[in-house]
């Protein structure tokens, strides 16, 4: 620690205004505040400064993502060995998954932060730490076999088009991580759908999976109409099923949700209303029950695919979600409904969560606007009544 502080102090004079390397001030700033709690104090008047800043917030979200990441790594190994008809020890499985997942994480962070730093240098603003979470979310919502260059291209797209053009962190109208996934989803559909991309090594035609192993995700199976092959609720809840890296285990997601809720960072309102919206839609489907897909019970339906992951980590992104309390409930509810709607009724899209969240991201400001307007109207009415009475 001391050593770090000393090095930073040594560099500091050079990068301050007037120093030799003042161009790199924002870069230096980013590293310094990342390593140490900034010692800014308000200079005048009495303000309350929250003890937590953006960097700490982001760190906690990353912490909440860790269970999903670790389980995802283990599951990657487990699925891979399963596809070859082998088993291995806990550590062996984890190590294999670790080696598969780590490059994706590194690429996502290096590329994303690289773009952020370049923009910060050109525009002269400080490097924001919003990407700390996006960089972790992007690998978690990718299939394990996604080529690294695609991850890089998608990350560049997401950071530039999704964030920087709108003014950087805190200004984005869409969730950047989902934008990266949407980019791959539409640009390289063969790499993010089908039966082979979810298991490490299976998309390589030279490896041969054992008989009876399909590698299809529960949603893929449901999409093909093989409803009897869908794993039971507990298997999907624990999460040793094929799927994107981080979304398979509902337990890990729920641990993350608990961390977010206890620390007050994730909005419980959005999470609950999203799940409620999804459940409502499933019950409507159950009521009609026109085909087998519509008859799936809510518990099973909710534990398939990335619905829960999206509800906990994506829909709650504070920037692109609704800000008002009533708005949050409407926003979440509609996400849940639309996600189920797309999933069950549109055969082209196996999972609707990504599209549902991106769509509602777009409408979040509108929802807020009407909620605020309604509030103003109600209060005006009250004011009128009370003035009449007196």
């Amino acid at each position: 620690m001391k050593f770090l502080r000393n090095t930073l102090d040594k560099i500091k004079p050079h990068v301050q205004k007037g120093g030799k390397f003042q161009k790199f001030r924002s870069t230096f700033d980013a590293f310094e505040t990342f390593l140490f709690v900034p010692d800014h104090v308000t200079k005048s008047g009495s303000h309350i400064r929250d003890g937590i800043d953006l960097k700490r917030t982001m760190s906690i979200v990353v912490l909440a993502l860790l269970p999903s990441l670790l389980f995802g790594m283990w599951n990657v190994g487990y699925q891979h060995f399963l596809s070859l008809g082998q088993t291995g020890g806990l550590f062996e499985l984890f190590w294999y998954g670790f080696l598969q997942v780590l490059p994706i994480v590194i690429v996502s962070y290096v590329v994303g932060l690289g773009v952020e730093f370049i923009f910060a240098q050109i525009r002269g603003h400080e490097v924001n730490e919003g990407f700390l979470v996006s960089g972790m979310l992007i690998p978690l919502i990718m299939p394990v076999d996604t080529p690294l260059w695609m991850v890089a291209v998608a990350t560049i797209f997401a950071v530039i088009i999704g964030k920087e053009v709108f003014g950087g962190t805190g200004m984005n109208i869409f969730n950047p991580a989902l934008l990266a996934r949407a980019f791959i989803f539409f640009a390289y559909p063969s790499k993010i759908s089908g039966d082979f991309v979810w298991i490490s090594g299976l998309s390589d035609s030279t490896t041969k999976a054992v008989d009876g192993f399909s590698g299809a995700t529960p949603l893929g199976l449901a999409g093909q109409g093989q409803f009897d092959k869908i794993p039971d609720f507990w298997t999907m809840f624990i999460g040793n099923i094929p799927g994107s890296i981080g979304e398979t285990s509902k337990i890990a997601v729920l641990i993350g949700a608990a961390i977010l809720i206890i620390s007050g960072i994730g909005s419980l309102r959005i999470m609950l209303s999203t799940i409620l919206g999804g459940t409502a839609m499933i019950y409507i489907f159950n009521l009609f029950a026109a085909n087998q897909y519509m008859e799936i019970s809510p518990l099973v339906q909710l534990s398939m695919g990335g619905f829960l992951f999206g509800a906990v980590f994506m829909a709650t992104e504070p920037v692109s979600a609704s800000q008002t309390n009533t708005g949050k409930i409407i926003y979440g509810f509609l996400i849940g409904m639309i996600a189920m709607f797309i999933r069950v009724l549109n055969p082209a899209y196996p999972e609707g969560m990504m599209l549902a969240i991106l769509m509602m991201n777009m409408f979040a400001p509108l929802i807020d606007y009407y909620v605020v307007e309604a509030n103003i109207k109600r209060r005006l009415k009250r004011a009128k009544f009370s003035s009449i009475k007196s």
């Binding site: 080529p147 260059w149 053009v165 640009a187 390289y188």
Partner: protein
């Protein structure tokens, strides 16, 4: 009205007064026909011809057109020209005509045309109007071709219908970008072009 030099009339729409990136007109067709370069080129050529000659004709008629029915007169002229172009394309480049399908006919509704007629041809002499029409048509074509170049290269790995991406690249794991073929990416690309243009020509940035 102050006389503008003819060379300015030709050059301005290419950059500072570009119909697509500065005036933001004609976006619809620029999203629809720019998947490949060949249709984009034919489309740009057609629009240039129609803009130029409709400008010329309307400008020649400008003093005799009653003000209240001028839009109808303009439409008649434009529609006639579009039909001529449509038939010519059908006769000589049938496959491209089929690709462009309805968009040749929709040149009639292209905002650039009506915009130039109303803003320029109705108040200027025939020759400058003709040049103005050509300039705007070319400005439109340039953006169309740029878009089509990027979209065809990254979306299909070819330029003007010829494969240019070497097979080796595909063996290394490269894939054509499917998003480039979809219209949403064209909107984003236009946005990027506008961004690039405005950081090049600072005076275009709105305050």
């Amino acid at each position: 009205m102050a006389q503008i030099k003819n060379s300015k009339l030709l050059a301005n729409p290419l950059n500072l007064q570009n119909p697509i990136t500065v005036q933001v007109l004609g976006i619809c067709s620029s999203l629809a026909v720019t998947v490949q370069m060949k249709p984009a080129f034919v489309m740009g050529l057609s629009v240039t011809l129609v803009t130029a000659f409709s400008n010329l004709i309307i400008s020649a008629l400008r003093n005799t057109i009653p003000n209240r029915i001028r839009i109808i007169v303009q439409l008649v002229v434009v529609a006639a020209l579009v039909i001529i172009v449509d038939q010519a394309l059908k006769a000589y480049v049938y496959d491209v005509w089929k690709q462009l399908s309805v968009f040749v006919g929709l040149i009639i509704t292209n905002c650039i045309l009506m915009g130039r007629l109303e803003a320029f041809a109705m108040g200027n002499k025939p020759i400058p109007s003709f040049i103005d029409g050509i300039g705007n048509g070319l400005g439109y074509s340039i953006i169309l071709l740029t878009l089509a170049f990027i979209r065809e290269l990254l979306g299909s790995g070819s330029i003007w219908g010829y494969k240019v991406m070497p097979p080796l690249v595909y063996q290394l794991g490269y894939e054509n970008n499917g998003l480039m073929i979809l219209p949403p990416m064209a909107v984003i690309l236009i946005g990027l072009i506008i961004w690039a243009q405005r950081s090049w020509k600072k005076e275009l940035i709105e305050k």
